[in-house]
Symmetry: C2
Subunit: 338 residues, 2 copies
Amino acid sequence: MKNHQVTIIDIARRLGISKSTVSRALTGHSQVNKETRNKILELAQELDYQRNNMALSLARSQSFSLGIVIPELMSSFFPSVISGIQQVVSEMGYSLLICQSNESYRTEITNVKSLVAGQIDGLMVSMSKETSEIEHLKALQRKGIPLVMFNRVSDEIESSKVIVNDHEGAFEAVEHLILSGCKRIAHLAGPQNLIISRERLRGYTDALLTYDLPIDNNLIIEYDLSPEQAKITTMRLLDLPVIPDAFFCFNDPTAIEVMKILWARGIAVPEQIALVGFSDDAASALIELTTVAQPVVEMGQLTAQLLLAQIENPLEEYQPETRLLRTKLIVRKSSMRS
Amino acid sequence: MKNHQVTIIDIARRLGISKSTVSRALTGHSQVNKETRNKILELAQELDYQRNNMALSLARSQSFSLGIVIPELMSSFFPSVISGIQQVVSEMGYSLLICQSNESYRTEITNVKSLVAGQIDGLMVSMSKETSEIEHLKALQRKGIPLVMFNRVSDEIESSKVIVNDHEGAFEAVEHLILSGCKRIAHLAGPQNLIISRERLRGYTDALLTYDLPIDNNLIIEYDLSPEQAKITTMRLLDLPVIPDAFFCFNDPTAIEVMKILWARGIAVPEQIALVGFSDDAASALIELTTVAQPVVEMGQLTAQLLLAQIENPLEEYQPETRLLRTKLIVRKSSMRS
DNA sequence: CTGTTAGCGCTTTCAT
DNA sequence: ATGAAAGCGCTAACAG
């Protein structure tokens, strides 16, 4: 008559059988007599039995929870990726521990540590803008914890990765600007420790090269993704002897900062300066910003799938694989020079 | 020589003492000989001992994880609240399981169930727009799981709650419009099953009454928070014989939808129609939307604190308390009529 | 097909 | 101050 949760022992006693049988019936082990199985299932239902996951975890030394470390939750990019992840993860009976690094390397390390302490079965990460050392991720792998990187990945580690074709996306964006008649296209480049930043830069330069446009290093500025730096950098570009006629920005939040400054200065977009961002954040449609859309939900799903595959498949030597998704240019007013 | 995690047994054996003592030393039970304690702590350090939380959980029947159910992650409101929650929660050694109801009552119920199955020690919830029955939350409490509601709360349940003074916030917003010269102020009201919607509506009507303005029911339309309905509702208001000269919207996403339509129709904001939202979403500053800001991070912190207080204090009869935070009107261009 | 027996790693009385 | 022992609830060989 305890008020306690009902356990398999309770239902075993009531039925005069052993708890092993109950366990087997409840977990669907085929080798159980149909009748007893039914009796067990019925009683379980009747008693509103709920299996105790902590016990399960301990017994199997599996926590059934996964971790994810992302830079931030403020733009719509990561929330969308997370939606995709949640879908597949919860379907498989896992839960998700979400940590924000707030773009800080230190915090990222702390996050990973606390997730490991929390006994996660696997981790998904998109690196902070400051991250270049990835010892903390290697340590993770040494402990045998499966890892999948996505979006912002490192090439100094062997793990599955899910990324988009940043080079192609950037190329198409810049190509579009060129075909719209832009000749002096500036690029606000992301931190060059991130592959994603380098690839987008490479897409930019390749597009210029392809169309025989000069690569002017004054027009390429790497910055740290902070709104303050975005502002300073933009000012610098606007104060150039010959002003750029287009900005291709590392991401949408950056493009939005640029847009604000152009508005403030009364510079017409796209007539005087055309503008293109990257990622198609929720706010971008609002201000008619041309951007390179990424298949965010799909990216999340894929990331989760790769991680789960690795978790449920530790026996055979797991082969890390890299999935490359395609981007899609979304042309809006900010680059429509008719 | 196992490759296994090092356990308290390992370190007990090495030191020739019992695991109980080790456990006590490691958890900081005062009654342990200083010398042995130090030896234990040192060895633990040396061996890089990490306590197994699953075992801890099982032994104490506490999972040290908390759940949160929110309508969505897309606007910046909930991410900010979550940041506040994360701070205090992780500091206390708990982890956070985040679920989105996607504004669906069914999903909300599913979320709660799966969190309960996940053995959470407590739950924080902001209801979906569809929720009016809260049997699922009462069931939670019957199971003895502490609950704190925030933002969108219900008055049909006894629990701690963290809300802002929606009435005051709405009143000030509408008062501001009135003082700016608006006379026909429309209100796009939220679903009236939510207290938050009713309070904002009440703030609106009270402001009108205070300034001797008529309350015109044609200007008050309840809608379901979907972009489609926002559009339809706005159209209806714009097709009125006498057009409104201001819109006070239930929240910022709504105001943004309205703004888009006004832009499309070539209606000048704020000259022809002034616009005010609620919550100060990230996108609002961008489009110069006047809005009522909420102390989001603080709301998160408070919510987490109340929950933890209840969890760590189950002995004495816990008294639910409601915290009322203050809003702040942020005037931007969308309502600046000279 | 089913029961028995060991754990999983830690906490917690109860003795000593 | 420390040890012995009994769980927490479930899984998983190993016998029958």
